[in-house]
Symmetry: C2
DNA sequence: ACGAAATTGTTGACAGCTCATCTACTTCTG
DNA sequence: CAGAAGTAGATGAGCTGTCAACAATTTCGT
């Protein structure tokens, strides 16, 4: 029925493999660092950064989920776990009886303020410093281009 | 004690963000596709491809783990699950009493042979086709450069 | 104003990953 | 060849992510 599958050309496959391996290695290292340095998982870090940087420490549940592009159920579980460890708390929303605010606790602030500078150093050391400014710019542009392309593709 | 943290410059942060978001979106879509198309998780896919493509359907446990750069425990759990679903089987190794071979079953072959062409099409549609050949080449080179850089960095 | 539909968020079951630990075998050293 | 050290792989506990179902509101259409 189908035509022969069109496998990737060697050059295409090489690019794809490098990309995939690079990402895995990079993210693997970064998340081990943030775990070791600050006792935070990568997810904890993302939540706390979003909450404190963009939401001033307090954000509606779904806004937070949308900001980081997570499913609401993932966020809900994550918040439950973080609340248990005292990093964030839930608060009721007066305007909307269904709603909830997520707020960063003082312990949450403390954790992220300790973790962030170290994390940035690692990002710099492992990723930013690997490329010249021009190369980094190109890399970012190409990433964005792929992102835009996917936005136009179905599904 | 520390100097002021050196946050990323806007241009650097933009590149980093595009990269991270692009990868998440891309991998998210691809793994949902392979799950829906063939009932395989991304991990199942990687294991079966490695096994059938590079190992001719049969590989030593740790060789397989090294090939895909997974921890042995991860691979062990993965193989256990896949064995339970009949995609692979374990076989004893005559040369080394501790060892094991992992072999792709006929069902495993069937699954990967159905999944692979569709997967490649999605990779092509979402990723390859987003860039010109030159851009793709550049993107692959830069990825490889980052990978090489990390190889030289401690930890 | 009233029922249908949409929105907000939670929950439980289950698959996946990591870490530490354990067993069994092999190899190395004296 | 005995014992120590290394290697191959399995296992269990515990955290994380996904999916489907659910409850509690709010909003919308008439």
């Amino acid at each position: 029925m189908d035509a022969q599958p069109r496998w990737l050309a060697p050059e295409q496959k090489a690019a794809w493999d490098s990309f995939i391996r690079m990402h895995e290695t990079l993210i693997g290292r970064l998340s081990r660092h943030v775990q070791a340095d600050a006792g935070l998982s990568a997810s904890d870090y993302v939540v706390l950064v979003s909450l404190t940087e963009r939401g001033n420490g307090r954000m509606r549940f779904l806004d937070l989920a949308k900001l980081v592009e997570w499913e609401k159920s993932r966020m809900s579980h994550q918040v439950t776990r973080m609340a248990k460890r005292g990093l964030v708390a839930r608060e009721e929303c007066p305007d909307d009886g269904r709603g909830a605010f997520i707020v960063a606790t003082p312990a949450g602030y403390k954790a992220i303020e300790e973790a962030a500078p170290q994390h940035v150093e690692h990002v710099r050391r492992l990723f930013i410093d690997a490329l010249t400014p021009n190369q980094l710019h190109t890399f970012g542009q190409l990433s964005q281009r792929i992102l835009d392309h996917m936005g136009k593709q179905p599904d």
